[in-house]
Amino acid sequence: MTLSALDPGAVQLPPEAVQLRQEVRDFLDTERAAGTVLGRPDSWLTGWDPAFTRRLARRGWVGMALPPEYGGGGRSNLERYVVIEELLAAGAPVSAHWVADRQAGPSILRHGTEAQRSHFLPRIAAGACFFSIGMSEQESGSDLASVRTRAERTASGWRLTGTKMWTGGAHVNDHAIVLARTDDSEDRHAGLSQFIVDLRDPHVRVEPIRLLSGEHTFNYCHLEGVELTDEALLGRPGDGWRQVTGELALERSGPERFLSTLPLLSALVGQLQRTGGCSPEQQARVGRLTARLSSIRQLSLGVAAALAAGRPADVQAALVKDLGTRFEGELVNEVREILPIAARFDATRGSYPELLATAILHAPGYTLRGGTNEILRGIITRGLELSR
């Protein structure tokens, strides 16, 4: 049996990455001084700041791995990795462009028509076009292939009807890539297709669903007979499932799957250092988290390198996401025990009790979003069976 998933091997970042990392850190220092980078946990979900996104884009750090002919930076995926891990570690407000940069851009590049590419990609890279993911529905969570949203053929294209749920950012973004049924064929996976939907269309109705913290990032996204031209179809009809699966590999493997709560740990370290005199117990617990964090990061880099080299990495990505998101939650609990100060959502924004409160209230989401950990473990064991 080969267990390649077990052993992606160490990755050496290219020398350009060291220079790039420093540039990002300098940029973040300036932004921090201006009060725009607040070291918040889960900033890629809730840190919505289009102006920050545009400043990043001006540096070439949005859509940076897209080809230059479409306005991208033409940089490597490993360079992109360095930039996004720096942004996440700093808790920078990156949620506006997150899905466009991570998922929609690469997906349109791979499956889109020439017209779609030249329309969307330069806008994404400029930080001027934001995307939502329209996959889940009320009855279709883990069992995504059961989606009921339908796209029916019309004379001029398609008509879309159904309700997507948990659509992050649908109330503030420009477009959603929607997974819909186009054919009731026997094989549930065969009749699905993807569409690029304008969220400002009058037949799209967005209804908020609030998080435990009261924040508004989630929505119902009611598609009430949205008329689409053929130009809205992404990829080929019936290829939706294959395309979505490819997208999920991008969605699952990134550093946002283990860095969501790192800003909290950094805040704790800062707090402990200011008060001085750490107990050996506190030191050891910080050390334990650091060792686990950096080991998970090594695995994640391995996936990034595999994807950059065009090797399939679905199983590894699932593995990193399960380990990483469990770590995110565990970190919150550990931090709470290392420095027991009651979490308070109403404390001064950015203070340790407030950051802790945010992280606790967000914690149930870490192991759900992007596919639950139970489902991911199924992917891992299926990978084991296939490798036998």
Partner: protein
């Protein structure tokens, strides 16, 4: 079954000879770590990891010739005097100054890995004038009290009765080398654990595929799959940490910290890896009938040798806390 014969059976799954040719001294560090992992995977009954990753590099760093064959490493307080005492010296008590580095050594070195199987041991201790010394002891120079770890691997006490060590086998070394000996031992142990973890995964995956209960192989049950995936993940985590430390070995700036991380993560992961592997093996894994014990008992031993996860975690934590809030991320990314 006696402890001795368990040590013999340690040769499974594939019998390996201790005297097998060692790789040349100039072998790439990553290749050496790979060999140590392989030794951990196979349960090779020899101090291969100690020889390749600790003893030989220490001897080379101290400027001593590296003898052929397997070596072991020991550190600890001993009673050390100069053989050729400088009688005119007024520094310290009698025997604290000498005319050359020839030493006379007495005392006991505890739980030295595989001492009974090697020709020589690299010893690190406090020299007679203060400051660390490193010297090479030959097997004929010590008396051995046999001991073993949980897995039945030799961990012998070496009794030294006024042993004369000639000056050409002694070097005064900087304190940094003592630290290096510690982190190299941690990395060696982590590499062994990574190998044994892989063995646990393979044995478990094979077992759950072959074992039928309720009319289906165990591997078809959701609950089994969930645990098995966690086992694979934890083993992958250790492998990643060890690989990162292996590639950092040639970078003086980051080698030590990444070795700490690997040592800490490997030791900390042992509990989860062995828990799941044993649980999924059912009762058979709890007996000597299954080869699983050859991996798990070793991992339980190795995690506590060279200090244990708590000591590594504390070292990492102190370092991180010294660096402040920005320091954590900087340490993790290597600058």
């Amino acid at each position: 079954m006696s402890i001795e014969s368990r040590a013999e059976s340690a040769a499974e799954p594939r019998s390996e000879h201790a005297a097998e040719a060692l790789p040349p001294l100039d072998t790439a560090p990553t290749a050496l770590v790979a060999l140590a992992r392989e030794a951990g995977y196979r349960g090779t009954p020899a101090p291969l990891a100690e020889t390749l990753l600790v003893a030989r590099p220490l001897l080379a760093a101290a400027g001593l010739a590296v003898p052929d064959g397997q070596l072991t490493v020991a550190a600890g307080p001993l009673d050390v005097r100069f053989t050729h005492v400088d009688t005119d010296s007024r520094v310290g008590p009698s025997g604290a100054a000498g005319t050359d580095d020839a030493l006379r050594v007495s005392g006991t070195l505890h739980r030295v890995p595989w001492a009974r199987a090697v020709e020589a041991a690299v010893v690190l201790t406090e020299g007679p004038g203060g400051g660390p010394v490193l010297f090479l002891l030959e097997a004929t120079e010590w008396r051995q009290l046999a001991g073993t770890n949980l897995a039945g691997e030799p961990r012998d006490d070496l009794v030294l009765l006024d042993v004369a060590v000639p000056a050409e086998r002694v070097r005064r070394v900087p304190a940094a080398l003592v630290r290096e000996a510690a982190w190299r031992s941690g990395l060696a142990r982590a590499a062994l654990i990574a190998g044994a973890a892989r063995r646990c995964v393979e044995l478990t995956v094979d077992h759950t595929a072959a074992r039928v209960q309720f009319g289906r192989p165990l591997s078809h049950f959701q609950a089994v799959k969930q645990e098995e995936a966690k086992l694979v993940e934890e083993a992958a985590l250790v492998a990643a940490a060890v690989e990162a430390a292996a590639s950092a070995l040639s970078e003086p700036d980051s080698a030590e910290f990444t070795a700490w991380l690997a040592a800490a993560q490997a030791a900390a992961s042992v509990a989860e890896i062995t828990r799941i592997a044993h649980q999924l093996h059912g009762a058979i894994g709890f007996t000597e009938l299954s080869p699983l014990r050859l991996a798990t008992t070793r991992m339980w031993s190795w995690r506590d040798e060279d200090g244990g996860e708590r000591a590594w975690q504390q070292r990492i934590g102190r370092h991180v806390l010294d660096g402040g809030s920005g320091g954590l991320w900087q340490q993790v990314t290597g600058g």
